[in-house]
């Protein structure tokens, strides 16, 4: 039922002379949620950002090894990061809606990529994206209001809708709930669960409970290494590695 969407082989990531990720290999499957957990500074966000080449925007960052999307090397010279990022969307830690209207926030991606032929197409995309993000009913009467005027949880769902609007294949989420309250968090988690049907979802989280709730697979990172990767239920009930066990039982973190 699952197929491999993203494959990483022997990936190292450097920030200048400093090695932030050391020899990570992992397969990420379609149709499920994969969680990256680990203590802060373990490199899980760094690795996530190398999956859609957002590390390119940081001066001095360098990635070696191979990362394949549907078998295509995303760091190959022929791969266009612009097209790649449309296929591999991203949601950030802090909601970052553009200082524009709700409508313009969603319309931005389809417009730059030329996904809508006309205004009617665009309106359809916007309604569908907002519906999928579970935000349509809350904002359909005020699409022209500023996106920044929404509550934190709504802003984050707007950012998810914005990512969905360009029809990505993978959605990367970098601690998407860390700036939200528990109720908003619950809504986002519910949304992630619905979305996984159509996308490969990777979520970085510092909350083990969240990883246990939303993910089917979990990868545990420590000091730039991938320590253990497997079924979430396995990792949390019966970890193979001592380090994973220590982390999960709260011995450090």
């Amino acid at each position: 039922m699952t197929e491999t969407k993203l494959t990483a082989r022997n990936v190292d990531v450097f920030y200048g002379p400093k090695k932030a990720i050391d020899n990570v290999s992992i397969d990420i499957d379609n149709g499920i949620v994969t969680a990256f957990i680990g203590p802060s500074g373990c490199g899980k966000s760094t690795f996530l950002r190398s999956l859609n080449r957002m590390n390119d925007t940081i001066a001095g960052a360098r990635v070696t090894g191979e990362i394949l999307l549907d078998g295509e090397d995303i760091y190959a010279p022929t791969m266009d990061p612009v097209a790649l990022r449309a296929r591999v969307g991203m949601v950030f830690q802090k909601p970052n809606p553009f200082p524009k209207s709700i409508y313009e926030n969603i319309a931005y991606g389809p417009r730059i990529h030329g996904l809508a032929g006309n205004k009617a197409d665009l309106d359809v995309i916007i309604e569908q994206s907002l519906t999928k993000a579970g935000l349509w009913d809350e904002v359909k009467d005020r699409l022209m209001d500023a996106g920044t005027a929404l509550s934190g949880g709504q802003q984050q769902r707007l950012c998810i809708a914005r990512a969905i609007a360009v029809s990505p294949e993978v959605i990367l989420m970098d601690e998407p709930c860390s700036a939200l309250d528990p109720i908003a968090t619950a809504k986002i988690e519910e949304l992630i669960d619905e979305l996984k049907e159509n996308y490969a979802i990777v979520i970085v989280t510092h909350s083990m409970q969240q990883a246990a709730r939303v993910s089917q697979r979990t990868a545990f990172f420590h000091l730039g290494n991938l320590v253990e990767y497997g079924e979430t239920s396995e990792i949390f009930t019966n970890p193979r590695e001592e380090k994973t066990k220590d982390y999960i039982t709260g011995r450090y973190g």
Partner: protein
């Protein structure tokens, strides 16, 4: 002469007082906790008590002594010969003063020769009188100060209070300067508007102060061509150069350039802002203006003038580039990285991100920067004085010679003019307009910048 000596004496007294009080305070010291303040503070306290009364008296006396001396001289029988006319009389008195100070000098006017001796006598008399007063004030203050050197006396608190008063006085200088500017502009412009109607001045389109006489005066002080020249050169031509170049430089430096390139290019660009305006003016007149004149000639214009709005505006624009660039730089840097990350993560290119996300988000800051740049350009003087020309005309042709508010201020106030003519006073009216306009631009811009920064904090 005497007063200068007394000034030195007061300062010397202060020094003596400082040592004396400190020495006495040291004698009082009997052990830890026996004194409220360290001996040095007693020294300062004492010195202040000598210097403040002494110097105040000195300042007051220096202010009133010339009047007293003149009064005494006028009472002298020789003064009865003086002409009644104020200006002439002042000139003779001034000459007598020079003669009194320097007996070898030769008198131009015999009347002043006669006054020199009484002048010298009066100066000596009042000089000694002042010296005595000043010394009494300083010594009295010092005497009081010395009695305060006691173990429990909080000398430090008193000295610190004086320091705070000094600090406050220094910061009030800023208000005083602003007040001075407003008051002097209003006062002199008020004199001007007694002769010329403000409405004629602000709405008239004919500027020819040289012809302004009698009933015709209003018609020749129409400042609109000046305002137009100022706006055309400073706010239009200069900005057409400075905004695109400054903004694009800032975008390239902040978004594309590596940190090494940025480290070298930015200060190099700033050199443009550090070059004195007179150098730009000379460059405009020497190099740019002839090129533009020849260009205008090649376009088929008959008799193109060397001085042109385009030459001045172009060079002024270049001067403003680093200013616009650094304002835009600040505005772009204030937009959180999350904004551009959000756009890049959607697959937007850099330039799409800049044009559609960064620039709109930074717009208030950039607009404020442009307003400050305009305020700077319209107040700029030397470039227009050297390259724009003197002809007040309402023209949209950039090859025409045009004049500006600042040019006319310089024109009206240099050369031999009697000060209180409407022609001279018009400079202050123009200055007032310039001050008000730049003030409004600055206040709005500073406010927008402040609010803009807060929005992203």
């Amino acid at each position: 002469m005497i007063l200068t000596g007394v000034l030195l004496a007061v300062i010397g007294l202060g020094l003596v007082g400082w040592f004396a009080a400190r020495a006495r305070a040291r004698l009082l010291y009997t052990g830890r906790g026996s004194m409220h303040s360290m001996p040095g503070y007693h020294g300062w306290h004492m010195a202040l008590w000598i210097l403040v009364p002494g110097l105040l008296t000195w300042a007051v006396w220096s202010g009133i002594m010339p009047g007293l001396v003149n009064g005494a001289v006028m009472a002298d029988p020789a003064a009865a010969q003086l002409p009644a006319e104020e200006m002439h009389r002042a000139a003779i008195l001034a000459e007598a003063q020079t003669l009194a100070a320097n007996p070898d000098a030769v008198a131009f006017d015999a009347k002043s020769q006669a006054l020199a001796e009484p002048m010298r006598a009066a100066q000596t008399r009042f000089g000694f009188m002042g010296a005595a007063l000043i010394l009494i004030a300083a010594l009295a203050g010092g005497g009081y100060g010395f009695t305060r050197v006691r173990a429990r006396f909080p000398a430090r608190t008193h000295v610190e209070r004086a320091v705070l008063a000094l600090l406050l006085a220094a910061s009030l200088m800023a208000i005083l300067t602003t007040f001075g500017i407003v008051a002097s502009l209003l006062f002199e412009a008020g004199l001007f508007f007694k002769d010329v109607s403000p409405i004629a001045f602000l709405t008239g389109t004919h500027w020819a102060p040289g012809n302004a006489r009698g009933v015709d005066i209003d018609g020749n002080f129409g400042a609109v061509p000046l305002f137009w020249g100022t706006i055309y050169i400073g706010a239009i031509i200069a900005m057409l150069v400075a905004i695109p170049l400054g903004l694009m430089s800032a975008i390239y430096l902040t978004q594309y350039a590596s940190s090494t390139v940025r480290k070298w290019i930015k200060p190099t660009l700033e050199i443009l802002a550090g070059i004195p305006t007179v150098v730009y003016g000379y460059f405009a007149a020497l190099t740019v203006a002839p090129i533009i004149r020849d260009f205008a000639g090649s376009l088929g214009m008959a008799n193109p003038s060397t001085e042109s709005a385009l030459a001045a505006g172009l060079v002024m624009g270049v001067m403003i580039i680093p200013f616009v660039s650094s304002m835009a730089d600040d505005a772009l840097a204030a937009v959180p990285r999350a904004m551009s990350d959000g756009s890049l993560a959607l697959g937007a290119t850099r330039s799409e991100t800049i044009k559609k996300v960064l620039l709109p988000a930074a717009l208030p800051g950039i607009v404020a920067g442009v307003m400050l740049a305009i305020s700077r350009a319209i107040g700029e003087t030397m470039i227009v004085v050297m390259a724009a020309g003197a002809s007040a005309r309402l023209s949209a042709n950039p090859f025409d010679s045009m004049t500006t508010v600042t040019y006319q201020i310089v024109q009206m106030l240099t050369g031999d003019q009697e000060f209180n003519s409407p022609k001279t006073l018009s400079a202050f009216a123009l200055g007032l307009v310039l001050f008000v306009v730049t003030l409004i631009l600055n206040i709005i811009a500073l406010r927008v910048v402040k609010r803009f920064r807060e929005a992203y904090e």
